[in-house]
């Protein structure tokens, strides 16, 4: 039985063809993955399947019947629900109101008490442990997402689209989401799951469809499509992710050292040393304190006790310029918030930390900015119209490359990167991890703070943090199960 079908859908935005005669067929009761690189047409298909955009050509069928007219939002809501990539939770409103947004009452005044009661029932039915009268803005990212899923299902739809639901979650939360998805599948709910993480596709999905360059490439049961073939279908050629062993052994001298670092509530008594030419991984779940630790190394936070040394120099704690001066390159966790200035040109963004060195007497030389930007565009394969393009216009993967270029701009002795490949496609991931390895080859020491196993595979060794403490120092050769178990505190 086919739950949803899109037939020969074409959608153009101006001169850009977002979908060129592409289609998808999702069987009822199955979890179907949709994968493809950035710009493959996944988001456009999602807006067409949810009735937010009208296809220029082609049609959408639900249970074999044509889709309702675009204006009939209620009819759409009964057929399909979507948890969008960007949160559609409104922070200033209560959980209850978010659940019943725009259907708080049938007609007439809203009965708040009754609405809260109905919300509690919905939350209970889908096992979401959140108070209905709490402001949605006070929830964690995971809780918000669960509220979105509950809202999606409470509309009565049996088909739900999850657009990169794991991008914002940490390891254990992802596992909890998967448990929930499996339970929904047991109840007969059909799901379309979009993710950049291929191992997730193999973990929870039954079928997979690959889009490339606005076209449908292949649809196959997951079990019949090995990972290599899947990646090849996505990129049009085979790529390999994973540790390259052609780097020389790290030198003896330590370029980044932390001793007895403590920040109560975040991390306790952490020691770490990164040697020149070494790539050290720092793994852990969201509550492990790894990000706070990285931010302390970069001078964004000040530890309560302990010292940080960068290439033998101890920068003033909590002082970002001092850390930069000492030779630190930093790629922050949230690229949208701390990574770049969206309206400024690529060339300005990538040279922000070193602009003062590019000119004399406080002036900034724009030709040297462009020169550096051009070099990085080439090295990191940044898809931009040129160094003058604002970073805000770039796609996620390319914006992240720009942030990486910025972190590398002062030829750092120690490079600290947090979630370097969050939300980017396979190609961009390869380029970003390659850049980290190149930096190590060039004599930097790198600290990769992440819980993404692909990121950690390039590391020479991995420190695992749990609840603020380093619990293990894993040399190369660990297994996925071993590392995940350590991150979740199960070892």
């Amino acid at each position: 039985m086919t739950a949803v079908e899109a037939l020969d859908v074409t959608k153009r935005f101006g001169a850009t063809v977002a979908l060129a005669g592409a289609g998808i067929r999702v069987d009822e009761g199955r979890t179907h993955a949709l994968v493809g690189r950035n710009g493959a047409g996944k988001s456009t298909l999602v807006s067409i399947l949810t009735g937010l955009a009208r296809p220029d050509e082609g049609s959408v069928l639900f249970d074999g019947e044509p889709a309702p007219p675009l204006a009939d939002r209620d009819a759409w809501r009964r057929r399909v629900a979507c948890v969008y990539q960007r949160s559609t939770i409104i922070p200033a409103l209560s959980v209850a109101e978010n659940l019943f947004l725009n259907r708080q009452s049938d007609s007439g005044p809203i009965r708040w008490r009754q609405l809260r009661q109905r919300s509690r029932e919905v939350l209970e039915r889908y096992g979401v442990d959140v108070p209905a009268d709490r402001l949605a803005g006070d929830l964690t990212v995971e809780q918000r997402q669960l509220v979105e899923i509950a809202r999606a299902l409470s509309g009565g739809a049996r088909f739900i689209i999850l657009d990169e639901p794991t991008a914002q979650l940490d390891g254990p939360a992802i596992q909890r989401l998967f448990t929930r998805m499996r339970a929904l599948r047991e109840q007969g709910v059909t799901m379309l799951f979009i993710s950049h993480h291929l191992e997730e596709v193999y973990e929870v999905c039954d079928d997979v469809t690959v889009f490339r360059d606005a076209r449908h490439v292949v649809t196959r049961p997951v079990a019949e499509l090995p990972q290599g073939e899947l990646v090849a279908a996505m990129t049009g050629e085979a790529v390999s992710l994973g540790g390259r062993s052609d780097r020389p052994a790290p030198a003896e001298d330590v370029v980044l050292q932390a001793e007895g670092l403590t920040l109560p509530g975040h991390y306790e008594d952490v020691d770490l040393r990164v040697r020149r030419g070494e790539v050290l991984g720092l793994a852990g779940s969201g509550s492990s304190g790894k990000v706070s630790l990285a931010e302390t190394l970069a001078g964004l936070r000040r530890a309560a006790a302990g010292t940080v040394a960068i290439d033998g120099v101890r920068p003033r704690p909590g002082d970002v310029p001092a850390a930069l001066e000492a030779g630190l390159g930093f790629l922050p966790q949230d690229r949208g918030k701390e990574g770049f200035v969206p309206l400024l040109a690529l060339s300005e963004n990538v040279t922000l930390p070193v602009a003062h060195r590019l000119g004399s007497y406080g002036t900034v030389s724009s030709s040297r900015q462009r020169e550096y930007a051009n070099k990085m565009i080439k090295e990191l394969d940044i898809h931009a119209s040129g160094p003058g393009q604002p970073v805000g216009e770039l796609s996620g993967g390319n914006a992240q490359k720009a942030v990486m270029a910025r972190a590398l701009s002062n030829s750092p002795k120690a490079l600290v990167v947090v979630d370097p490949t969050a939300g980017v496609d396979v190609r961009a991931k390869e380029a970003l991890l390659g850049a980290i390895e190149d930096a190590a080859r060039g004599g930097s020491g790198a600290l990769v703070v992440s819980d993404d196993l692909d990121d950690l595979r390039v590391c020479d060794r991995v420190l695992v943090m749990f609840h603020g403490r380093v619990v293990r120092d894993l040399p190369r050769g660990w297994t996925d199960q071993e590392l995940v178990a350590l991150m979740e505190g199960m070892a």
Binding site: L93, L135, A173, G286
Partner: protein, 333 residues
């Protein structure tokens, strides 16, 4: 992201207080009432308090209008000019040339409907420019503030209009059950606003749009239609405020409403309405108006010279902001 959620678990206390942000100005009002009573024996008389309400009623309507617009995540600076133009133009359409009108000779009972219609049209034009041309509400309404004021100055030649139809001044000057009609009207409209924004889907849609318009759209809210409606209602309320002011003063000066918008924003913001949209209530805005009205009254009773009032207003607004910031527990937006 996840680190943030970690931090959140440590700080749940201030969040609870945020729910009572509506009431944060109530203690301030109590303090002002007490302070007023010590300043002057006439302060706490019914007559004086009714007087305060009467003086604030027109401004309050504009605050109500601005609150609806701010909650929707938009801006309207032109409201203060509409307060002047709408009654002036409406009156000029019905009075003879000798009195400063156009001499078209429309029947005088049309003056009030015309006044509200002119308000609605101004709002519709604002909405059209902002939604269809995708322009910034701030800049559009800043330009409209100048355009609308310019129209009034041009039509009236900068002169005041004194000979007004009796029906036109009635609402602003009449008493119903011993209380000025404008207080009744303003009170009823605020009550309607509180109910609409608190208990009706269309009112809650304003919060949804102001909080995240994509989310509102995905939930089936007709965002553009609602925003347009809010601009039209807002400007119509401003026209009504102009009507009440006209009746109260008995004439329309060329700068009626001029400079109000600062007080309007101050009242809304100290009343807890966010300039970023999606936050604040009509009741909160009302408490903001009351604070400003009481301060003004106390300063008058205390005999503070007019030249110094401006400064005192500014300082009081800053203090009220700091108090509501501390009581609300969250950073001011």
């Amino acid at each position: 992201m996840t680190e943030q959620s970690e931090r959140m678990r440590f700080a749940p206390v201030s969040l609870k207080l945020g729910r009572f942000r509506d009431l944060t100005l109530v203690p301030v009002i109590v303090v002002l009432l007490a302070a007023g009573a010590t300043v002057s024996p006439t302060f706490l008389t019914g007559e004086n308090l009714v007087n305060v309400l009467q003086q604030q009623s027109a401004l309050a309507l504009v605050v109500l209008a601005e609150t609806l617009i701010l909650v929707t995540g938009k801006f309207d600076l032109s409201l203060e000019s509409t307060v002047g133009l709408a009654p002036a133009l409406a009156v000029m359409l019905v009075i003879p040339t000798s009195a400063g009108g156009f001499g078209i000779g429309l029947p005088s009972f049309l003056a009030i409907p015309l006044c509200l219609l002119i308000g609605a049209l101004t709002g519709a034009l604002n909405g059209f420019l902002i939604l269809r041309f995708q322009l910034s509400a701030f800049v559009v309404t800043l330009a409209m503030l100048i355009v609308v004021r310019g129209l009034q100055l041009g039509f009236t030649g900068g002169k005041s209009l004194f000979q007004l139809p009796e029906s036109f001044t009635y609402l602003g000057s009449a008493n119903w059950l011993g209380i000025p009609a404008s207080i009744w009207i303003t009170g009823v409209l605020f009550a309607a606003g509180i109910v609409a924004l608190g208990y009706f889907r269309v009112g809650r849609a304003l919060y949804a749009i102001g909080g995240n318009d994509d989310a509102a759209r995905a939930a089936g809210v007709r965002v553009n239609r609602v925003v347009w409606g809010v601009f039209i209602i807002g400007s119509t309320l401003a026209a009504l405020a102009g009507l009440l002011t006209t009746g109260w003063l008995g004439s329309i000066s060329a700068n009626q409403g001029n400079g109000w918008i600062f007080m309007v924003f101050a009242a809304a913001v100290i009343g807890g309405v966010s300039l970023d949209g999606g936050k604040g209530t009509v009741f909160g805005a009302l408490t903001g108006v009351l604070v400003i009205g009481l301060v003004e009254n106390i300063l008058t009773l205390k005999g503070v010279p007019g030249e110094w009032k401006q400064l005192v207003y500014g300082v009081i607004i800053l203090v009220a902001l700091m108090i509501s910031r501390l009581a609300g527990g969250k950073a001011q937006d």
